[in-house]
Symmetry: C2
Subunit: 147 residues, 2 copies
């Protein structure tokens, strides 16, 4: 297999993400949040809340860091903590009414804005891009185990 042929893919992947992230981060900061904070709001949206453990697994934020990020969101009254009814060690994090409002108002705007990028995509293009990325993700996820 030709060794260099995958390099453009990785390069383009990184650039795609950077292009997405550059826009995304700007919009996120315009609402007074950081990307990790938005990540948590988006993860908690449309759920009944979840434990720190689960939240950390979904957002890929480690527990020590997560405590700090949740602290800052709590200081902004966007999320709240409550004791788990089933496990005395566990805390449930969930959106407050203010957090729900932010999620409901800002998330669709955020999505719509990104959606403009796909104006010129046909339904077939969309399907094909999704399939390609799905395959790529499976491939990349395999790196760790094959190490």
């Amino acid at each position: 297999m030709p060794k260099k042929s995958f390099l453009p893919i990785v390069r383009e992947l990184v650039r795609c993400y950077q292009a997405f992230e550059a826009h995304s981060a700007g919009h996120i900061r315009s609402m007074g949040l950081t990307p990790p904070q938005f990540d948590i709001i988006a993860t908690l949206g449309n759920t009944a809340g979840m434990s720190f453990k689960e939240l950390g697994e979904k957002t890929l934020i480690t527990k020590g860091t997560l405590t700090g990020v949740v602290d800052r969101l709590e200081a902004k009254h966007l999320v709240g903590r409550s004791a788990s009814p089933t496990d005395g060690r566990s805390q449930i994090v969930r959106l407050t009414a203010k957090g729900e409002e932010l999620f409901g108002k800002v998330f669709p705007t955020h999505i719509n804005h990104v959606g403009r990028a796909f104006m010129n995509y046909s339904a077939t293009d969309l399907k094909q891009a999704e399939s390609t990325l799905r395959q790529l993700r499976a491939a990349l996820a395999g790196i760790e185990e094959s190490a």
Copy 2:
């Protein structure tokens, strides 16, 4: 155009990048660097050096931050500064011998490791994935201007 159909693409893109980044960051830290530091090493590799301005444009790191990151790499004796011969305000950053050695030794290893992900890709698959990502990048890059 169906509004929701691009969401899986964005989601997969983020996951692809995270999968890549998770592995990449681990490898980078194992050689005592941070991702931004590695970014600079990789950008300076195989060049005769470049100004802070150019380096900042290529790595998307703003000038104030860049000074600090370069300071840390200089403290590790991986890069050096020298006055620009043509512009008295400008500094040229380039890899030291130690920096070149690190680049020459570690970069190929890094690339090869990522390359394993593409073991099951045919030449056609590679071409197609690259083309899809290139198209996606162009689309995403257009978001800013259309805002």
